[in-house]
Symmetry: C2
Subunit: 418 residues, 2 copies
């Protein structure tokens, strides 16, 4: 019996096969994410992995359903496994924002799901760091959020040679669009289609792009000139200045190719890419000042911004750059039981060492001394500890081969001194 | 738009309403679980929250479907949200056990789902610590697993006044059953029904139990005498001796009321209960030596045992015993920006402190000094730091009110000395 296509099992390292996923690498990534978000003063939240389908269609329109893991439950409810965290977060914030001081800085590490037509190796779930700020309309909040993204990436050992944040603005494109409309006298009713074309521009054949743009009254040449100039708007200037003040200027550049396909962004948008351009976007986000109002049916309204940062591309990048540590078994102490008459006091020793916070293992059943020692080595134990008799323990440092002997009660101190 | 019935949102503390769930308490529980399992040498794994329906019906029979969160996906597959972790684990172990040294000691913290008829306040999801050992048939493994459960409970501050492990054995009941069959000359084909009656005995009216038992050829009196005697089998003796050697004897008692309803247990079984009997079982588990073979269709076979330990009853118990810490916002440093001309170097200071591992926040936009200080207090900052000018920072310890001034480059040292 196999698992469902597109889902992952996570195994402890060392992995028996290179195509398996590592539970240790996953935990390493979660720890780094959590630690960076906390240093920035973000607090953790979580919501249900299942939500009413309506929550997602309200935000993204009915066309999202084609990509959702959705179904009808036994209570005849239309529900979906969450494809993204933002609608859940907007719902949660709308319900209780009055009781939280602003700005609200929250993060989560949800597992997200999608159901697209099956492609080989394509995953149907992944994990994401989601970080969001609510209640602050100043771009100082955008800078704070982008700084968190940069520092989270840096905490994995990635440098400005590895990644860059491409910074853009819906407002800049809106002005471009409005100006062009005014010049040509066209009706300005095709913003969404225009944004979609810009979003896909880098992956579209120029003649095809030219055709699509002219249909809306634009020339590809004008679009390319606007992108090549990359002139920062005042809001983007403010963000660049803010990040430079932190010493993070080298990690960010204005790049109007980025616009983010999702319709709900309202201001600054950004994406993190690997500098060599080998991978898909590492992370992306932006401002969505209207979403809380939309989700709450007008009951609450708060400016908001956030990003999502997935585990799959990050893992590929860390592997490619040699930045993923090895996570073999690791033990502080392996307790050797060579005399079965000493099993009871040896169990007490195991227990006392664990009580003192040590990671400890031992042979559950009688085994030859050489087999026990081999097991200690397989588990990468730093020390062995062995009762010589009921009142004497010998500890050995397996790197230095130093040994110390003393009373079992002082075993923890012997380890520290050995 | 509300969340689905039976699902939880997890908010950061302080909670705006007492009926909300705390993301901080959840993380506290996860950290304790993870830390205890690691001290015992258990390694973390995880699997998909969705599995083919067949994985669960193979293990538990078709009747389990009534309690499952199951549905047909877009690919016409019958699938279910996992109601327990053991079938997934058995599948994972069966697939790759040859590449892992025995005993395999693994743990996970899955979210589990069930879909029962809606009862007020009844949850449809919860989290569980699952710890399992594969490849060791000796009861020394059962003792190791029970010791982990005891120490995990103890790590929350719970004592033998708060909880007890009720230890039992399928083998003991099997002997009782076989003996009775032999004596009365009945056919021994109703084991499953008999075990189900014993499982529910404490919650069944005696006359009703008497009736059901006689139908199978048993007398309630005999059953009660067997339970009251509570005579340990040799396997249970060995576990009691093992736990006593560790100093954990006071946490465990033989209690044949426990039998665990699930049909797949094969040997020692146990449950953790609060001593006052106010709550449902805190945790439960036992041996299931046949499951790997069943799930793998005979391709692999390994003795196995494990327990599940949920977050909901634990949380109730910790609250009732006053053992759940408060988790208000907590900040190392709040950086005050009282002169907007110093915002750029203040951002650099914020950044440097975060780089040094400090949790740091500040006012994103200009604010009156008293408002900034109030915010520092709301966030329970340990220190404030304020640039006097570009080359001097003043740090203040908000508990002792001690202050230190120095160069911004030495801010981290100033905090340590203040």
């Amino acid at each position: 019996m196999d698992r469902l296509p597109g889902f992952r099992d996570f195994y402890p390292e060392p992995l028996p096969h290179s195509d398996l996923w590592s539970a240790d690498a996953r935990q390493y990534i979660f720890d780094k994410w959590r630690s960076a978000a906390r240093r920035y003063g973000f607090r953790e939240y979580d919501g249900p992995p299942l939500e009413p389908l309506e929550l997602f269609t309200t935000k993204s329109g009915e066309e999202i359903v084609g990509q959702l893991y959705n179904f009808t439950d036994k209570g005849q409810r239309e529900i979906a496994l969450r494809p993204e965290m933002t609608p859940t977060l907007a719902r949660m914030v709308a319900a209780h924002e009055r009781n939280y001081k602003k700005p609200i800085k929250w993060f989560a590490i949800p597992q997200l799901f999608r159901y697209e037509r099956q492609q080989k190796g394509r995953l149907r779930e992944h994990f994401q760091l989601n970080a969001d700020i609510f209640g602050e309309s100043d771009v100082a909040a955008d800078a704070e959020l982008i700084a968190l993204l940069i520092d989270t990436l840096r905490s994995f050992g990635l440098t400005s040679k590895d990644f860059v944040i491409r910074l853009s603005s819906r407002n800049a494109w809106q002005s471009f669009y409005d100006d062009a409309m005014q010049k040509t006298g066209h009706q300005g009713a095709n913003e969404y289609e225009f944004f979609q074309i810009i979003d896909k521009l880098e992956r579209t054949d120029p003649s095809e792009a030219e055709k699509k743009l002219s249909a809306l009254g634009f020339a590809l040449a004008d679009v390319n000139i606007f992108i090549a100039a990359g002139k920062p708007t005042p809001e983007l200037e403010a963000i660049l200045t803010n990040l430079a003040a932190r010493g993070l200027g080298e990690f960010v550049k204005v790049d109007y190719h980025v616009i983010r396909g999702l319709a709900y962004y309202t201001g600054v948008v950004f994406e993190a890419f690997d500098v060599k351009g080998e991978f898909r976007a590492i992370a992306g986000g932006g401002r969505y000042d209207n979403l809380v109002k939309l989700i709450s049916g007008g009951k609450a309204s708060l400016p908001a911004l956030g990003f999502g940062f997935g585990d799959v591309v990050l893992l590929e990048l860390l592997k490619a750059r040699g930045l993923l540590p090895k996570f073999d078994a690791k033990l502080d102490v392996f307790v050797l039981i060579e005399d079965e008459n000493l099993r009871a006091p040896s169990l007490k020793l195991v227990h006392n060492l664990r009580e003192a916070g040590q990671t400890v293992d031992y042979s559950l059943t009688p085994a030859r001394p050489d087999k026990q020692f081999k097991r200690a080595q397989e588990l990468n134990a730093s020390f062995t500890a062995k009762l010589e008799n009921a009142s004497a323990v010998r500890v050995k440092n397996l790197s230095t081969r130093a040994e110390k002997t003393g009373s079992p009660d002082e075993a923890v101190r012997l380890l520290a001194d050995c």
